[in-house]
């Protein structure tokens, strides 16, 4: 079976790469246009896929928005896990930092904004503009990525995983305990979106219609896919692959492992921060309990099940793991169990993932050949 999936995706990939450039461009354009059309999906037959056609189903565009946010996370985490080969089990920490950045600086309910209002004699309606929160969120996530990576990236891979798991928990506990700064477990509301604080006057990015939010998230995803793809094929991307495959050999070739690992961490963190910001803006309300360790595990599952190292793979993994529990709500209670079983089966039978990166599949195969006879 595993050979089958690998064979099919490989054959499609070969076919794809051999097409003339203009045909690929047309296909890309058609694909992107279809993605933008998705929330309006009304083609007979395909409506079966909509989540609001089932009883108690969530808004279809809302589910698509969540898919887009998780794809963004998967792309960011893929830089860390898939490209640089570092297992980060605390990715939810960066997601939370992005979400809390926009909440703490953009919401009039946040203690931070209220303190600034008092200190500088600003009115009670003053808050940092949403657009200005974006660089704050990115910077906060990147800085925390560097602060976490600086001491820990020198550790062995398995230690790094445990320390990052602790980091994700610490961020959550800090958000819960520092009541004077974050409002504690009660959370923060009135988080602004592109049109400012939530109100009935927001005709585009309001609370009711998720379609514009999906289009916004999709646009961000497409921009990030483009940027990360450029990065993958650059000197930095090649260094990441070299470090992942053999750090010592890479060091001999003059690749500074630590520096590039830190870059991977910072870039991954920035993407996590952006997705957290999008999520918080759409929700309008966040609280620490939304950022628990189970979410980190879900993020890792998206990357690994899809095929770490391959952007199409991780995006597919993110969409699958977000969409399926929404479409099949009758089994929603079993969703975590299903994630666990899926993750386990993928690891045991196709460790390279459903849509693997070729290079990674080959790497695993080589290792299998080198396995000692008595293992």
């Amino acid at each position: 079976m595993s050979q089958g999936i690998r064979g099919v995706t490989g054959a499609i990939g070969d076919r794809w790469r051999s097409l003339p450039g203009w045909q690929r461009f047309v296909a890309y354009a058609a694909g992107v246009a279809f993605l933008y059309y998705l929330p309006l999906l009304g083609i007979p037959g395909l409506t079966w896929f909509r989540t609001d056609y089932i009883e108690g189903g969530n808004s279809w565009a809302g589910v698509l928005f969540l898919c887009a946010v998780y794809v963004l996370i998967a792309i960011g985490l893929n830089v860390v896990i898939g490209l640089a080969g570092l297992l980060d089990l605390g990715y939810v920490g960066f997601y939370a930092i992005g979400a809390y950045s926009v909440a703490l600086f953009g919401s009039t309910q946040s203690p931070v904004v209220q303190w600034i209002q008092q200190e500088f004699g600003l009115g009670t309606t003053w808050a940092v503009a949403w657009a200005a929160c974006i660089p704050i969120a990115i910077a906060a996530a990147m800085i925390s990525g560097v602060l976490l990576g600086w001491p820990t990236l020198r550790l062995r891979g398995d230690y790094l995983a445990i320390v990052t798991l602790g980091f994700g928990e610490i961020i959550r506990i800090v958000a819960k305990n520092m009541k004077e700064v974050t409002n504690g477990a009660e959370g923060i509301g009135a988080i602004p979106g592109p049109q400012g604080a939530p109100s009935a006057d927001n005709n585009i990015f309001g609370l009711l219609d998720p379609k514009p939010w999906y289009w916004l998230a999709l646009t961000v995803v497409l921009i990030m896919v483009f940027l990360v793809r450029r990065l993958e094929n650059s000197r930095v991307g090649r260094s990441w692959l070299a470090i992942r495959e053999d750090e010592d050999a890479a060091a001999v070739m003059g690749v500074q492992g630590f520096k590039f690992k830190l870059w991977a961490f910072a870039i991954g963190a920035a993407l996590g921060g952006i997705s957290g910001l999008l999520f918080a803006s759409r929700q309008g309300f966040i609280q620490p309990a939304q950022f628990d360790a189970a979410l980190s595990i879900l993020f890792v599952a998206m990357v690994v099940v899809g095929g770490s190292g391959n952007m199409a793979g991780v995006a597919a993994g993110a969409v699958l793991l977000t969409y399926l529990p929404e479409r099949f709500r009758e089994v929603a209670e079993y969703r975590n169990l299903a994630f666990g079983v899926a993750l386990l089966l993928v690891m045991l039978f196709i460790p390279q993932g459903l849509i693997p990166s070729r290079r990674r599949a080959r790497e695993l195969k080589d290792r299998e050949k080198e396995a000692p006879a008595n293992a």
């Binding site: 445990i162 305990n177 079993y334 386990l344």
Partner: protein, 313 residues
């Protein structure tokens, strides 16, 4: 920071910390044994322990145990619980090794894949118990009534703390003896030192690895019994935090080092109780992570160094 609360009762906090740490130490042994032999972190070990807590709970509720039975009955129930817990945890550990890890070892996959597999196993075990036993805290009867039996200065030591400390020490001395003095223990140490040479000397590596998983599971089962007796609760996701703390204890003492796990566990328990007193409990769970990061930064081999049994060449 509430330094007064700490220093006025420092003896009491130390005793509480040691009793807490003894449970960490027993769970830490499972991480240390597997790491010593396979150089892998068995992330699913926390769930092996969780299964033990539920098995003992199930055993007691099957017998219809009520609060504070007569002493003789209580002792029988505790010994029975030890057997049930050890069997459940040991069996789970063995199952995990046979169904998942062995397959991965044969494929010689990178360590990250082991770790992700272990996380998947944790999630599956947690969810099975979450769906089966509900997602709320499960309470159980108290078998032994808490009574102060010893007073040193103003520190009061109760009977449950004594039972925990003594039985944890007995289990650990027994394990240390097994690994250092018996034929099977010698095989474990041989595989830990050099798996290939051990195989050439006629040691069945797979059997040794299974033995190591079972031993770790039995220790986790004992820890589960002490936990059930002391805290009288369990929950489907209770393993997560305790597992992290036990792992921290193992790293603190030197992962792969049995005596290190004891030292690390007791030390971490004391640090945590001191920390909780200083911060009025709100930051209790953060101390383990901070200790872990500090140890990994300044002494990644732990206080007693990494090795199973004797020093590694």
């Amino acid at each position: 920071m509430n330094w007064n609360a700490l220093f006025e009762n420092i003896g009491q906090h130390t005793i509480d910390g040691l009793a807490k740490g003894a449970i960490f130490a027993l769970v830490a042994l499972g991480y240390t044994l597997v790491y010593g032999v396979l150089r892998l972190i068995n992330f699913a070990h926390s769930e092996v322990w969780m299964v033990g807590t539920f098995a003992i709970f199930g055993f007691w509720s099957l017998l219809g145990v009520t609060d504070n039975p007569p002493l003789g009955t209580a002792i029988m129930l505790l010994l029975g619980g030890l057997l049930v817990g050890a069997a459940a945890s040991g069996g789970t550990a063995l199952l995990v090794e046979r169904t998942a890890y062995r397959r991965l070892r044969q494929k010689n996959v990178p360590p990250l894949i082991f770790l992700i597999t272990a996380i998947a196993i944790s999630l599956v075990l947690q969810e099975i118990f979450g769906l089966w036993q509900g997602r709320l805290v499960v309470g159980m009867p108290s078998l032994i009534k808490r009574e102060t039996v010893l007073t040193i200065g103003n520190a009061e030591i109760n009977n449950i703390q004594i039972i925990i400390l003594v039985s944890a020490l007995v289990m650990m001395v027994g394990l240390d003896w097994f690994v250092n003095k018996t034929r099977n223990g010698r095989a474990i140490r041989a595989v830990a030192q050099n798996p290939d040479s051990a195989a050439l000397m006629g040691i069945n590596k797979d059997r040794v690895i299974m033995l190591v998983f079972v031993l770790g599971g039995i220790m986790a089962g004992a820890a589960a019994l002490l936990w059930d007796m002391r805290y009288q609760i369990t929950k489907f996701d209770i393993g997560f935090v305790l597992g992290l703390k036990a792992f921290t204890a193992a790293v603190l003492g030197g992962i792969g080092n049995l005596r290190g796990a004891l030292l690390g566990g007791l030390l971490l328990g004391v640090i945590e109780v001191y920390g909780a007193t200083l911060t009025q409990s709100t930051w209790e769970d953060v101390f383990a992570f901070v200790v872990l990061v500090v140890v990994l930064l300044f002494r990644p081999t732990g206080l007693l160094g990494e090795s199973l049994g004797r020093a590694r060449a």
